[in-house]
């Protein structure tokens, strides 16, 4: 494991990995089927009473 090897790894795969995973996260957030769930979640905080 040399310094150059690590630097190479960081500069190339580090970035690919990042872009790839971030793509997944965005896809998840924008997936149409999830919309309803998210809407419900956003409103869920108003349904809690203080004493259950």
């Amino acid at each position: 494991m040399t310094h150059d090897f690590f630097v190479m790894l960081s500069k190339s795969w580090g970035l690919f990995y990042l872009i790839f995973l971030f793509g997944i996260a965005v896809a998840y957030a924008l997936w149409p089927a999830n919309k309803e769930k998210f809407d419900r979640a956003a409103k869920s905080i108003f349904h809690d009473q203080d004493e259950k």
Partner: protein, 252 residues
Amino acid sequence: MFGVHKKLERNSIAFVLGVIVVASIGGFVEIAPLFTIDETVEADPDMRLYTPLETAGRNIYIREGCYVCHSQMIRTLRDDVERYGHYSLAVESKYDHPMLWGSKRTGPDLARVGGKYSDEWQAQHLRAPRSLVPASKMPNYAFLDRIQVQPDKMASHLRALRTVGVPYTDEMIENASADTIGQADPDGDLSDGVYDRYGAETNVRNFDGDMRKLTEMDALVAYLQILGQLTDLPDAPGVEPSSDTPSEEDNS
């Protein structure tokens, strides 16, 4: 892909793992290569070690939080270099556990302050900075004159430092106590050993002007006087300054 994510979201453990993985990689990418950096930073065989007294002084520097007002990192910028000397090299803090680069310059950079002033100036400046520099914001450290250094403790400090990678020899550790005393007692019997173990360029003298006791003032001044003096620089300060001088380890 979607299915995997849905699960990930539903299952908090997996979610936590996701966060750990995602979050660690950036740190890994930034830090891991640096642990192999020794290959690129030219090994400097002449890099001297801190003596026990200087180590004690360094610990006082840490304890008093001098680093919250003073940096020890001269950047590769023209004005930094002209003000404070040759920009700092990676090797120079190689034995600094931890490093004291600092992040704020309420006072000037100290990376190369060693030898800039006399011992008397340094001690007096620490006791009452405004007696020498009226506009100074630096606290008074007169109490350092009243606290004595404990030489017998220094062996365990050097041992701990060796554990984390500083190449102290057995002999240095055995003689840590004697060397602590010897360095501040130029006429005593113990001073020869300091030169033997730490090199002929070591500062051996009484630092605070009071021979009667070995105080924290001695230790701190000894440390300040060694800053920037532990190795010979590749070239004289300020030779190649430009507004953005790349550092030697630059390998991008």
